[in-house]
Symmetry: D4
Subunit: 226 residues, 8 copies
């Protein structure tokens, strides 16, 4: 029984779909993660790690070599790309409790080389918090909105901005809101047209979707220039 036969890294992913391989650490043992990092090291590759709890991080052999963020539970192993250009993605968090998910998105965007801006605690219970920052948000062609509880914010944002809107329902809340199903269904059922959705608490996925979109936009721009 060997750990080495338990994983197959997809180093061709970036070339194929424009997104780097990333390691989802929940459900993996420290031994498995150690072996994966070693495989990346041998190859001279960088790796992004998500859902790495502080306790598991502490049990890794090379914890010290990780650039770790406890709020978003993400880590970068090896060299991270340089972030360049103006911020094209706005990451909006409805409440303070949604910030960890927003930070995960920001970290993944940075690992993808893209600048982004955070707008936090602008939920609809106090609409003025959104409207005073609306022009700033609108300046970004892509908007990620993380919201839990009733997740009303993505609908309001979707009715006010013309860019691409990616909603991330979060598991913030209790009672019917616990676990994030209520938020998920609210954004899927949004009355504002053209909002897209990713899994609950999936800041990583929202950022990947934004990276795909910027990639597509780049292709369209190139075609147009030709």
């Amino acid at each position: 029984m060997s750990v080495a036969e338990e994983f197959t890294l997809d180093f061709a992913r970036s070339e194929r779909i424009g997104l780097e391989e990333a390691i989802f650490c929940a459900g993996k043992s420290p031994e498995q993660i150690d072996a994966i990092l070693e495989a990346a090291r041998v190859r001279g590759a960088s790796l992004l790690l998500t859902r790495l709890d502080p306790e598991k991080r502490d049990r890794l052999r090379d914890a010290a070599r990780l650039d770790y963020c406890p709020v978003s539970r993400t880590a970068v192993f090896g060299e991270a790309p340089r972030v360049t250009g103006p911020a094209r993605v706005a990451v909006v968090a409805a409440g303070t409790s949604d910030v960890p998910v927003a930070r995960e998105a920001l970290r993944v965007l940075a690992y993808g080389g893209r600048a982004a801006s955070l707008f936090a605690d602008v939920g609809v219970a106090g609409l003025w918090r959104l409207t005073t920052r609306l022009e700033d948000i609108r300046a970004h062609p892509v908007v990620i909105v993380a919201a839990g509880m009733d997740a009303a914010l993505p609908s309001v944002v979707g009715g006010l901005v013309a860019g691409a809107v990616i909603a991330v329902p979060t598991s913030v809340g209790y009672g019917v809101a616990a676990g994030g199903r209520a938020a998920l269904e609210a954004v899927l059922a949004s009355c504002a047209p053209g909002i897209t959705v990713v899994n609950i608490d999936n800041g990583y996925g929202a950022a990947c979707a934004a990276l795909r979109l910027l990639h597509a936009a780049g292709r369209l721009a190139e075609e147009r220039e030709r």
Copy 2:
């Protein structure tokens, strides 16, 4: 086997809790409803009927004596009370499809002798539709908001008005919104504090809650005057 033993009208309800007996017609046979109406007639009492489908109405013996509204599927048997005073309740419908539920609330309020105002199709996908009518809505101390799909409107209203807010989730929508669970959970999980909720499509219940509230307010006002 006799229909007469199948119901027991609660004519004391009004005295006890300030709300008239009403007949929920879904699940009752035309024979049962006929017998109930006859019992009311004998006693000289009026009755409110809810959830009376047009097909079932047509099968009643005394259909012609009902004041029937097909949009809200409500009917009044006998004398209805006179509506007096200024409108104290705003009934807000997020979309045009939510109007039947809103109309049910309006009919029940009227049967309770209370004036009310309708504000329709002011959902958050086009927020200007709400903001241009906000001052009018605020003029009503009690606000009923009927909304389906993501039901973001009650949260936005709850963050903007100081009065009592009663949300009625509706079954408008499809996919995750079908049946109204997504709307129900959104309003229960609302980030706006102090919003109360009734069952899906329950315009009747929302109106009764408003009547209870106006009744309580009346008592408080009387105490204050003393």
Copy 3:
């Protein structure tokens, strides 16, 4: 990455909707709560904190300056308003296990300056416990009822009192009752007309709804006096 950009306090809330800003502490880190308290202190504002677990409280910088209640997990930072006038709200707990939710409602009402009365362990399994206290409960125009398991009490109360009834389903119970869904659905489906509902275990929301209602009643009384 700075905590300061992660929150935006809504100090205008009170003026806008008659309810003070409150901090939902579940899902917020001690660092975030500390920063929020500091922002309130700088401004000279009071704050209500909800869902503050004892463990998290102990990790706050200024734990000692909080007026903390471990049963309801609420805390008041700074000056609390004086409670005046007779009790207008009855807070009824079906069982002893529902008391924490009821206490949360009582604390929020007190923070809103309103007197209230507690009636505990009057569930329907022993109906005499309710009936012997019914006249006392009826003396309050607003009744909050916290109940878990089958949540039959709000329906019984709703059939006996004429005032406004706000039901708070609780997560007390196991099996089908675990988490409070069964209680929630029971109160939403209540056969007693005009009962309103808030989220599971949401004593805070029930109290806010009562405050909105008393505010609305005040406006109606003022109009009547004119």
Copy 4:
């Protein structure tokens, strides 16, 4: 492909468990039911049929030979047993809409040779309707309670009577009550101890449970007499 190979009647059931074979007609084709009745006829056996819709009844070859009740959708084929002795089972229906389920229970009890009494429309929204009939209900050692919506009645009854209580949740209601899940969970989570439950709308099962119970009581009485 022959219909004859599609069923195997359990004529030994009565001897084994004290309950007669019964035919659940939903999901069976008229051809299948015809063949089953023919098999019973050949053997000279009686049969109870449940969930037989009027439309399907009309498509049976021997419809005229059935003693059919459209309210409960039950039919008796052949000789039914004589009902003897005083009523030992009270069948209580919370609302008028719950009567079909109650009637199914009454029919099955009669087919089992047991007398029973109906108490209809005594739900908790008007508690006086129950209390005025309580002594009558208490006179029956076994009480079946059919209730939909919030199904609060079985809990109240369970707290007031000492006999065996069998709750039948019904699918009466809409929104969260539609389908009867809310009622089912309410009775399972009942705060009144010792209430037992059968499937939604299962008046047949409740009656069978009562028959089992009376059978067990008979055995106990015999032992005592010895």
Copy 5:
């Protein structure tokens, strides 16, 4: 804020419904339980405690005075009634993991003064385990069956014995079986007629139902003797 106002013991319960007051300890604080025990002590009453975890037991002031069973998490405070007569109730556990629920039922029956027999690990995966003990089980007019996972045992038992069958679904299992919903629905949907059901893991409720039933049987026997 006083613990004394948080409970109202129902000492009249036994007289009213034939079942003693019992204290559901989950969700109650040690302070609350201490106060309840003190109230019983003052009155000279006994009490049954259910769902008392060992950790909470250890935090009680009078832990030493309880007759505590860690398997069933039940405790008896004060004098317990003497168990008399032959065993009339069979308590059947489908698997070894279902034994704690079965033991809870046995303890409650003993507290009610009734003898009972345990039959454990007789699930349908090895049907011979049931059939070799079937005659013994049949000798009891009342049969409680605790089963988790697919809960097929109550259906098989229900098809083989003529007595009253009370099924207790348990939370034993994982995946779709976790929490006991699959078991609950299986027994509610049982193809064997007349099986009754209580809440998941509710050994207490099953025993109370058996006590009610024995009580009803006693009444019937008395009538017969007259």
Copy 6:
């Protein structure tokens, strides 16, 4: 807009996985099915059609050329393979209402060229119906069991036979059993080891699984012979 671009038949399927292409007709329009049949005709291929309602069948251009079975709602277009050899698959139906699903499996097996035997109405409520036919069932190395409601039969069969057991939960039943979820979860949670499961009402899938298995057995036999 052309129907021709709406389908791509997978005629290579048989070679790839040993199962013929089949057409799932629910959700396809008569126009689409007509075009598919025409494409098969042109190629000289046979086709199996599943979930073809009689109404839709009647709307097909070539309805007369189909070998149609209304009980199982299957049709064969073109030449069907000859069924050869002894029956290796037992198809067991718990109740008469489960026969349509069993018949679908039988038809698909026949289309796959495999003989099979039907055992109907042998559910556990009358266990003797199973035990008297057990040896016959055991003679088949592969056993498909279709069962609705509590689906206890597959567990009992799985504990008694050594062959491969494929359970098909059916949607037969009402209340918690409606739609087949309860049956599905019961078989997934079966206490009998090694039972496999297919989707609700999926007689087609169960038969395909049996065909895969017989195919695998053939390969193993060939290897052994070598």
Copy 7:
């Protein structure tokens, strides 16, 4: 009671968010739709109608003036924009039964002035159907994938193309797949990174999301050119 007060058209939507107002016809009465069309006519505006069943279409006053597509149940009232440029959006349908949803997306894209290509029946059960068309699909920077049942196709596509991927789960299927929840959850849980999701059967929403994305890409291209 007037229909005119029941809707408020959002003609400013296009300017605000780049998407035209569209009328969701499910839940609206023919009278309401007639009034809405009249309002558009008066203003000289075009309108897109979605979820317009043929039966409801036939009941409209101006049915003849609609450009109606019965497969997608969409209609265009008034002048539709001209579609220009090469196809930038690939609309992929996993099965033939998913075509109506795909056609809705195509119609909405055309109404938005964007060309698009359909790729139908390329589900993973026969992977060659996808791989032979993969290069064609990859030529489109935006890919919409409609899939029901297990919805495995979006994950496979997401692992093979670099563009933006918008998954539309469909309600195609039965048993656990009925209603589309299984498909929805599969795409939300996709192992392929960066896939975004819209509501079940929401071809309209997927197309709107694509339009937002193309709009964002246009802005980015303009910035780059500057």
Copy 8:
């Protein structure tokens, strides 16, 4: 109260259904497991233990005598059978996090005397990982596929291999994927025909199903040889 009466080992199982008795340790106390092991020791029997957490293992009296695997949480007590012959079962794990479930299947197969091969981390997000190993997988007539999240892999495998496919959904994932329901429903709804399914995380059950299948194949081969 004795532990000995709490279990009944099924040593006849192997003879009856070809599978050895196994002990499911979750939900059993260390005392119960100790007693079971002792009973096996007395009889000279071996036992397989599943779901034995390391903590519980450490609390067993004879922990040292177990052959324990912490990854799969399985243990063998006593002599295990010798594994013979070539690998006939492929165990495929979609991701590294699914390996514990795959290892459980491998351990159970080995305990059944059957060789098997592991193929790990070949999920569809990087399809090349599967295709490069496809021929190896195809060489096994039985394929077990463990997959969490969207569980798309079993559908893809099912469309590519002709052997028997047994899918094990796993609880790997978060949000909608947490607990494994999304994976379960995806494999049940698979568009690839003839895939069978076991409970979530049930590597044990998948292996038992494979053993049943190999047993059936053996019988068929023997018949053929005759």
